[in-house]
């Protein structure tokens, strides 16, 4: 703190070398104080989940809330996870999520390319129609959609959840990828076109390598969506052994009091989001400042 008070006045522009070093140190310290403070606020719910997942029952309901459990009840984790068949739920969810990610990446890459890197008459109109499918709430589309899948004889399977991802039905991802494709300078593809490169070749060889961060984001978001999706599986699945984790977690929910409901629910939830956190960790590594587009060969 004393060092902070020694901060040089802003009016003196001529800073000696050591003063400027000091200024930088103070600035950096303040920056980290700010970041740690913000981080605590943003980590709040996870800390609460962790804390609750380790509590005994009376501690959950203590007023005011207790943040550090005492005693730490680690056994909540094995107890909660073995109380329902979470092994099967995890297998179902992983299979669903990975297939959906593949579907979203393949289909949206193609469609977003058509909506961004090629000029064709009617493109904007089609694009607005594509976007507008996001604007009708799912609640009123749900029942006709259910009837569609019933007629396809796809109920009680993951087909209704997985197949549409291969057809770019979620305009959110298409739109996101389109925006990123549009930031890639047109000179790059024009040059390739002059060289006789076909559109698909341009997409694969020029656009995709440059859009890695965006593809990573779409993969992550689709994975998260599938991981958390609750209403879709609820509607389409009629066998509990097919349930995904999100529906497994719902089985802890209850309207009446029972011992360890919150600790179990939070232990299972914490275990359930761990894989997503790990995936996020890897995805964010693609965001390294300073990829220089202009430096690439066109």
């Amino acid at each position: 703190m004393q060092r902070a008070e020694a901060k040089p006045s802003r009016s003196s522009w001529e800073l000696s070398h050591s003063q400027s070093m000091l200024f930088k140190t103070v600035q950096r310290t303040l920056f980290y104080v700010l970041m740690v403070g913000l981080a605590l606020i943003f980590a709040g719910p996870l800390l609460w989940m962790l804390s609750t997942s380790l509590k005994t029952d009376p501690q959950v309901y203590h007023v005011p809330p207790i943040w550090i459990p005492n005693p730490v009840r680690l056994v909540n984790y094995p107890e909660a996870l073995s109380s329902r068949p979470f092994g099967a739920y995890t297998f179902n969810t992983v299979r669903y999520a990975l297939t959906a990610v593949a579907g979203a990446l393949i289909s949206n890459t193609l469609v977003a390319y058509g909506f961004s890197r090629i000029r064709w008459p009617g493109r904007d109109l089609f694009f607005i129609i594509c976007l507008s499918t996001m604007m009708i709430p799912f609640q009123v589309r749900m029942i006709p959609l259910y009837i569609t899948f019933k007629n396809l004889d796809w109920l009680n399977s993951y087909l209704p959840l997985v197949v549409p991802t291969f057809f770019a039905v979620n305009a959110y991802y298409t739109f996101l990828l389109r925006q990123f494709f549009l930031t890639i300078p047109s000179e790059l593809s024009d040059a390739a076109r002059v060289d006789g490169c076909a559109e698909l070749g341009i997409l694969l060889r020029i656009i995709l390598p440059l859009a890695k961060p965006a593809l990573a984001v779409i993969g992550l978001l689709q994975f998260m969506f599938a991981w958390d999706n609750y209403i879709g599986p609820l509607i389409y699945l009629n066998t509990e052994s097919l349930y995904p984790i999100a529906l497994g977690l719902q089985q802890f929910r209850t309207m009446f009091q029972e011992a360890l409901m919150w600790p179990y629910m939070m232990a299972a939830s914490t275990a359930a989001i761990a894989p997503v956190i790990i995936i996020f960790f890897f995805v964010q590594r693609t965001f390294v400042e300073g990829i220089s587009i202009t430096g690439l060969k066109g």
Partner: protein, 472 residues
């Protein structure tokens, strides 16, 4: 890959409705691959693939979860399947029943048996579930008059019975109080308030504020638990009942909200809230959850002295407030009805959707659920009662586990009035409208007279739209 097969399927499996053809043309003639069926069509038969042996498999959906709730449901299904019958039940936990059930009925793929938690009356009145009277008449196991008065009536619509009480039935009204708080306030628990006038005096004595004017203890919250009804689909409307008013006339299918008694009820509700202050009461409510299930709810945590609630409260309180003592007595009534004691036994129906194939098998499972074997599994895990008269015996050893439960059991026989939950075909609308009306009154947006009249008009108008054929 399956994707591709499925896609081929889309183009071959078409059964369109006329408007769809129109819309396909209207929207540019895009290849219409979405097939559809008539929404209220009966169940499709193709999924009734019979197992190799002669056992019939039926699907049973329930919304209850939680460790104990799941244990009870799993236990009931296992007990049934272990009986060596020709029927086997496959259980499914459906946390959001409304969404799934509506889609399933529309798609013609409903379960064989359902229980908890939808707007039951809306299913009965719209012909979505089967009348069960013929089955009950033929049954050797259950009879119409085997259930507590008022219970099976709450599952009837226009003379037919659409549900059988299987799970979680019981008396809904008792005035529970925190013994320590009542004692501290110098009140005599042997003379519980019997009218709203007396109740208000207790409310004033029991409510406490700190120096800054923040409320610390609330005497009585007129909208907590069964007084406010919450989202409950099988409890009569408490406030009107205490004034002796049945808000629904099943003969004429009309409402009685434009009644002096309902206006008085609203006035009383506001009076209790005003003593605490509406903002303070709202804050109190959002700070503490209601009812009795959680130790951090207001009543179990000792910051609310009185609560109108049902038979499950003694069991819940033994978990949520093991260190506190509670008493129970009759819920208060209007001054003019002093001396009346009323009770209502509500419960969740087990129902069979229309179009189900294995109706007999489904009914066999329902029968099983009403009986001792299933009921004991349920009570052991959750403390829930069933609907048969014979189980309302306060002296049964299994009921001695929770203090106060015997009062509820006894009240069923002692009450001067036993009310059935009205079967209102626009139940969901009415419940929400009721909450809105209570809020409009306590926030001072409307005078009770105006609010009652508006409520009457809104509900009548809604009936006229949904069921014009039922109104003269």
């Amino acid at each position: 890959m399956k994707t591709m097969d499925g896609n081929v399927n889309t183009t071959t499996n078409l059964s369109r409705r006329r408007f769809l053809q129109w819309s396909a043309v209207g929207m540019g003639g895009a290849a219409l691959a979405a097939a559809c069926a008539t929404p209220a069509a009966p169940a499709a038969s193709e999924d009734a693939a019979a197992p190799a042996e002669e056992t019939v498999e039926i699907a049973w959906w329930h919304a209850w979860g939680g460790t104990t709730g799941m244990a009870a449901m799993v236990g009931v299904a296992e007990a049934f399947n272990a009986e060596g019958r020709s029927v086997q039940v496959e259980r499914l936990h459906v946390p959001e029943m409304n969404d799934k059930l509506l889609a399933a009925i529309a798609g013609g793929t409903p379960p064989d048996v359902g229980v908890c938690c939808v707007q039951y009356a809306q299913l009965y009145s719209r012909g979505a579930v089967m009348p069960l009277d013929d089955f009950i008449d033929r049954s050797e196991i259950i009879q119409h008059d085997a259930f507590v008065d008022g219970l099976i009536e709450s599952m009837q619509w226009q003379g037919s019975t659409y549900g059988v009480p299987g799970f979680e039935a019981g008396p809904r009204y008792g005035l529970m109080y925190n013994k320590a708080l009542v004692e501290e306030a110098g009140l005599d628990a042997s003379q519980l308030p019997r009218t709203w006038e007396e109740m208000f005096e207790w409310h004033v004595e029991l409510t406490r504020f700190d120096d800054a004017g923040n409320v610390e203890v609330v005497g009585f919250d007129p909208r907590d638990a069964t007084a406010g009804n919450g989202p409950a689909t099988n409890i009569p409307q408490f406030w009107a009942l205490t004034y002796g008013l049945d808000i629904w006339d099943a003969e004429t299918n009309t409402f009685n909200y434009d009644d002096e008694r309902f206006i008085s009820a609203l006035t009383t509700l506001k009076r209790f809230t005003d003593h605490v202050g509406v903002q303070q009461m709202e804050s109190f409510r959002s700070s503490f959850s209601g009812w009795t299930q959680s130790p951090s709810s207001s009543f179990p945590s000792g910051v609310q002295a009185m609560l109108v609630t049902g038979y499950y409260a003694p069991g819940e309180l033994s978990h949520s407030a093991p260190d506190k003592e509670f008493g129970v007595g009759w819920a208060p009534v209007a001054e003019a009805r002093k001396g009346a004691t009323f009770q209502s036994v509500g419960g969740h129906p087990m129902y069979i959707p229309n179009g189900v194939e294995n109706v007999d098998a489904a009914f066999e499972f329902i029968e099983f659920c009403t009986q001792d074997k299933a009921q004991n599994v349920i009570f052991e895990n959750t403390g829930w009662l069933g609907g048969l008269k014979e189980i309302y015996d306060p002296d049964l050893p299994k009921y001695q586990k929770y203090s106060g439960l015997d009062w509820f059991l006894r009240s069923v026989n002692d009450a001067t009035e036993l009310w059935a939950c009205p079967v209102i075909p626009i139940q969901g609308f009415v419940n929400q409208e009721r909450s809105r009306t209570y809020e409009a009154v306590i926030f001072g947006d409307k005078e009770p007279e105006q609010a009652a009249q508006d409520m009457q008009e809104a509900c009548t108008e809604e009936m006229r739209k949904q069921f014009p054929e039922l109104l003269g």
